[in-house]
């Protein structure tokens, strides 16, 4: 469902290696805008090895807007942030964003520019976000097929993570938003009873800080029961051993 778009790629070998990397990580929808050496390209077929089907099914377009006709979100892979008001994502964040789009029924594409000069600003304008692969300053020039590998790898990894998250949640019984809201209400009522917040002006910020501590703990059902038990216990009158 997720597409790779190459803008004006120059070397057939790179297109073939791109297809191979794509299929390694489960991607099959290759779209090419104005390949320099025309199409079909025997070098691309040769370099694709076991991913020749990706090359045979690749579609050629004459502009990005045509290539992205059914795409909701385009992610532009660039070497550095451009002077544009666009969110900048790491490859990992980009992989997660694409899977979050998939859950919303939206189709994404990861876009790569020509080997020598990268994407031009007109094409980047159409992107939802920019994504930058972190590279060493010593030699930042990443081969396009290697860039496709890294992006496709993070896309595939995010898919595995999305599956695991669903399984984990089932396993661990993550607390529902309602249970958590009730826990916060319980805690904050008891704190109000004891005049914990003192200054009314500061209450909203203090409440937010306290909620954030517990939100970071990824509470389960059982955690919420435990925490509510703790509150109930702490506010009791002192335990009387003689009773």
């Amino acid at each position: 469902m997720t597409a790779i778009i190459l803008i004006e790629p120059q070397m057939g070998e790179n297109i073939g290696a791109t297809a191979r990397s794509m299929l390694n990580f489960g991607l099959t929808d290759l779209r090419i805008v104005n390949p320099r050496d025309g199409w079909p390209n025997p070098k691309a077929v040769d370099m694709a090895k076991g991913a020749k089907e990706v090359i045979h099914n690749a579609r050629i377009f004459s502009s990005l807007s045509e290539a992205a006709y059914d795409i909701h979100k385009i992610y532009a892979t660039t070497a550095r942030p451009r002077d544009m008001v666009k969110p900048v994502l790491s490859p990992e964040e980009c992989g997660n964003a694409i899977h979050s789009n998939i859950r919303k029924g939206e189709k994404s594409a990861i876009m790569f520019g020509p080997e020598r000069c990268g994407l031009d600003n007109d094409d980047i304008t159409l992107a939802a976000a920019i994504t930058i692969i972190p590279v060493s300053e010593i030699y930042p020039s990443l081969n396009i097929a290697q860039a496709v590998s890294v992006m496709s790898y993070e896309y595939f990894k995010a898919g595995l993570k999305a599956e695991n998250d669903i399984t984990d949640q089932k396993k661990s019984n993550a607390a529902s938003a309602e249970d958590i809201a009730n826990f916060f209400q319980h805690l904050e009522e008891e704190l109000d009873n004891k005049d914990f917040f003192r200054v009314a002006d500061k209450r909203p910020r203090m409440v937010r800080n306290i909620r954030n501590i517990f939100m970071r703990a990824d509470l389960t059902d059982q955690d919420v029961r435990t925490l509510r038990g703790i509150i109930g216990s702490l506010v009791k009158k002192k335990f009387d051993k003689s009773v």
Copy 2:
């Protein structure tokens, strides 16, 4: 400091592309055990592009144990888990493990087998752990230079993360272990006062569960002060508005 070891690589092009990927992600120490086509290899030099220095400085060995003479931990990249009692790490975990080794003053190498057959069991025996790049079942055959890219990328990313973690900790003032221990003692004393644990047998497990909830929240100094304030407030006698 971290090395890449190629065992019996076949294609000079793959060695060159490996060097390029290495340098993209800040790695320069290439060691090769028995390259099939001998050494030096002009195809390797050609494919290395801007990373020719890595090829010129590569060292050739006749066995893994010679190549790893100064290495503390070898990570074996394989396509599937082998029938061996070895930890299996994701590329991300491997990157983190290497940086954790670096902090301990230990030197690591990531090892890759020949293109066609992968690493043999004798070489894997010398590894501290196996690492497996997640790939699609449709076409799991990853080119060796792409595998080096993914592993080197995760290594580089883990390095950036390690730097950020240090900065984050400075910024956020993570609570010290002592402060956290004092907070737990405070909470557990108050809970004992209120007979929260009731059954003595169950106390250790209940204490562990409660501590785990808070450990997951990555508490800062300020969080610990807030939580201790909450405990102090909850155990107070009911607030008397007339006072």
